[in-house]
Symmetry: C2
Subunit: 352 residues, 2 copies
C-alpha cells in the first residue's frame, strides 16, 4: 500500500487541527514527527484552517485555500470537527468534504490493543477498512412537504468501482498480515441491491487478480451481528471491510475494546494522497483543558508516514507509544491517568 | 402503552416460527403462555408459515394467508428469518414486510441484565425504541449500469409523522421508568436533512403534549459515539430512540452487554397489533440441535402480553426466567451452560 518513499529532500505536511481537541492533538503529532529527526525528510508544516468554529466565524467550513494547500502538500494530518447542535443552513462537514475532494477513498483504522509485554500477542488486533466517499455520505438529501407533514429522503450510493477499490485495499492489507482474513460487512438481507453490489464486488476482487489473493480467506457478516460479535469475540476479526456508515460505527465500536477512542488512529488514503486523522471527535466537553489524549493523533502520524513508505520511523513512533502505555505511569484521564496532553507527549518523545 | 385488556374470553395468537431456531424457540414461548393457565384468556394458537426456507420451496416468503390470519389474530409471535447468501430475485424479508403491512411502527427492545439478587439493581437497564417502518428499510433500491461499472442507489426515508409517533412511544416509555431519560440517536452531522428531521421531530414531542413529558430529560448522541459509549458506560442510557437501521445495530450492541442475544426480547408494536420477536436471528449454525436459548422468545411473549394489558402474567413469566438465570444451573451453551432448549423451558415452567 505504501507509496514508495520518493527521494524527497523535504516533506510538506498540511496540518488541519479544526475544532476542539483537534487543536491540542495535532500539535502533539507535529512534535512527534519533529522528534524523528533525519529519519524522515525534513518536515515542512503548513497550518491550515477548517472546521465548524471557523464556519460560525466566517461562514466557510472548508476554505478554498486549505484545499489548494493540501493539494500542494505531500500528506496531511486532520484533527476533528465539531457538530452543530441544530441544523445550520450552508454548513457541511469539512472532513467529509476533504475525503471526497481529495478522493481519499479508503479510511484505514487499525484497532490494536497493547499487550502487557512486547512478546505477547495483543488481544485485539484488527483493521477496519472503511469506504470513504459514498454510501449515505454522498449527502444527496431533500425535504418534501406533504399533507401529513414533512418527508426527508437521502440517497445511499454504492458503486462497483468504489467497492472494488476498497475491496482491493482490504485484500492487500490482509495479505500482509499473519491471519490473512477479510470479513465483508453488509446488510444485504435488507439492502439486497446496494449492499448486494458491495458484497458481490468485494468477493470478486481475488478473481480479478489471478492468484494474488488466493491465500486470503473471505468471510462476511451482517452489520448488526458484526457489532455484537465484535464485543463478544473480537479475535474472529482480522480485516473488516465495510461501506462508509457501517465502517464509521464499527470502528468506534472496536475502539471501545481497546480502552479509549483516544488510542485509535486512521488514515484517509487515496492513490495520490494520504491524510492521518485520529478516530475520536472534537470532544467539546474536555477541549481547552489540555487533557486530550495525544496518542491517536501520534499514531495517525505514524500510519501516514508508513503509507508514504517511511516504515522504520513509523515503527519508532508506535514503539514509543506502546512503551508509554505499557508503563502506565503517564496517561490522560480517558485511560484512568492524571497526566496532561503535553506530559504524555513528553513521555513519548523521550522514548522515540 | 398497553392496550387495555379487553374482556376477551380467548386470545388468538398467531405463531410464525419461520426459519432455523425460530422453529425451536416459538414452541417454547407457546408452552410458557400455556403454563399461565387462567391468568390470561384461553390462548388459541394459529400456526403460520413464512421465511426464507419457505421461499426456496414455494417461491413465497410471506404467504397472503399468513398476513390474513395475523390480521384476524389478537397478537402474534415471530421467530427468525434466514438470510440468503447471495442476491435472490424476488425474495424480500418477511419480517420487514410484516412490520410494514401491519404498521407495527415501533420495535421496543428492553435490554436488562439480571442482578445476582432480586433486590439489587441490574447493571444494564435500557430500552431501545427503534422506528420500524422506514429509513433504509423502505427498500427502494435500483441498479444503474454505467460506463464505469454498476451503480446502486437506495432511498432512506424519514418522515415527520413516523418520527413523531416513535418519539411519543419513547417519551411514554421513559415517563413510566424511574430515570425518565430519552437519548435521541442520529447522525445529523452527515445526514442533516433526514436525521435533522428525526432529531428535531422527536425533540418537539413534549411541546405537543402540554406538560405531559416535562419530567422526562432529553439527550442526544451521534450513532457512532453512542455505540462506543454503550460499551463503555451503559448506565448513561435509559430509553434510546433511533431510526430503523441505527436501532437495529444498537440493539444488537446492547445485547452483547447482557451476555447473549439469546436473552433479548422485542415487540413490534402498532396502534392495533403487537407481535413479539426475539432479537436474535435464525442461527443456522446451531439450528436443529435443540440447544437454542428459549429465553428471548419467552420474554418476547411476556412483552407481548404486557402490551395487551396482561401485566401480572407477563411479570410471572419474567420472574420465572430471572430465577432460572440467577440459579445458573440450567442454561443453554450461549450462556456457558450445557442444557437443551427443552430443559431450560422445563426449568422456567416449573417456576411460573
Ligand atoms: C465527524 C464525522 C462526519 C465523521 C464521520 O462520520 O466520518 C467521524 O465520525 C469520523 O469517523 O471520522
Ligand atoms: C432479519 C433482519 C431483516 C432484521 C432487521 O434488520 O430488522 C433483524 O436483524 C432484526 O433486528 O429484527
Amino acid at each position: 500500500l505504501s507509496t514508495a518513499a520518493a527521494s524527497r529532500s523535504s516533506l510538506k505536511i498540511g496540518l488541519v487541527p479544526a475544532d476542539g481537541i483537534g487543536r491540542e492533538v495535532i500539535p502533539a503529532a507535529r512534535q512527534a514527527i519533529e522528534a524523528l529527526g533525519s529519519d524522515v525528510p525534513k518536515p515542512e508544516f503548513v497550518e491550515l484552517l477548517a472546521g465548524f468554529e471557523l464556519f460560525t466565524r466566517t461562514g466557510t467550513a472548508l476554505p478554498e485555500e486549505t484545499v489548494q494547500a493540501l493539494k500542494e502538500s505531500d500528506c496531511a494530518l486532520f484533527g476533528a470537527v465539531s457538530s452543530p447542535s441544530r441544523r445550520v443552513t450552508g454548513y457541511s462537514s469539512p472532513i467529509v468534504g476533504l475525503r471526497k475532494i481529495l478522493d481519499l477513498y479508503a479510511n484505514v483504522r487499525p484497532v490494536i490493543s497493547v499487550a502487557p509485554t512486547p512478546e505477547e500477542k495483543p488481544s485485539v488486533d484488527l483493521i477496519v477498512v472503511r469506504e470513504n466517499t459514498e454510501c449515505l455520505y454522498v449527502k444527496q438529501e431533500e425535504m418534501t412537504p406533504t399533507e401529513n407533514g414533512r418527508e426527508a429522503r437521502a440517497t445511499r450510493l454504492i458503486t462497483e468501482r468504489a467497492s472494488r477499490r476498497i475491496g482491493e485495499m482490504a485484500f492487500e492489507l490482509a495479505k500482509a498480515r499473519q491471519r490473512k482474513h477479510v470479513t465483508i460487512i453488509h446488510k444485504s438481507n435488507v439492502l439486497s441491491i446496494t449492499d448486494g453490489l458491495f458484497r458481490e464486488t468485494v468477493r470478486s476482487v481475488p478473481r480479478l487478480h489471478e492468484g494474488k489473493y488466493d491465500d486470503v480467506e473471505i468471510a462476511e457478516q451482517l452489520v448488526d451481528s458484526a457489532v455484537y460479535r465484535l464485543f463478544r469475540e473480537p479475535h474472529i476479526y482480522d480485516v473488516m471491510v465495510a461501506p462508509n456508515l457501517y465502517g464509521d460505527i464499527i470502528s468506534d465500536a472496536a475502539a471501545a475494546l481497546v480502552g479509549s477512542l483516544g488510542l485509535v488512529p486512521s488514515v484517509n488514503a487515496g492513490d495520490n494522497f494520504v491524510m492521518g486523522e485520529p478516530v475520536h471527535g472534537s470532544a467539546p466537553d474536555i477541549a481547552g483543558q489540555g487533557i486530550a489524549n495525544p496518542i491517536a493523533s501520534i499514531r495517525s502520524a505514524a500510519l501516514m508516514l508508513r503509507h508514504l513508505g517511511y516504515g522504520a520511523p513509523a515503527d519508532r513512533l508506535d514503539k514509543a507509544v506502546d512503551e508509554v502505555i505499557r508503563e502506565g505511569q503517564v496517561l490522560t484521564p480517558d485511560l484512568g491517568g492524571k497526566s496532561k496532553t503535553q506530559e504524555v507527549v513528553d513521555a513519548i518523545l523521550k522514548r522515540i
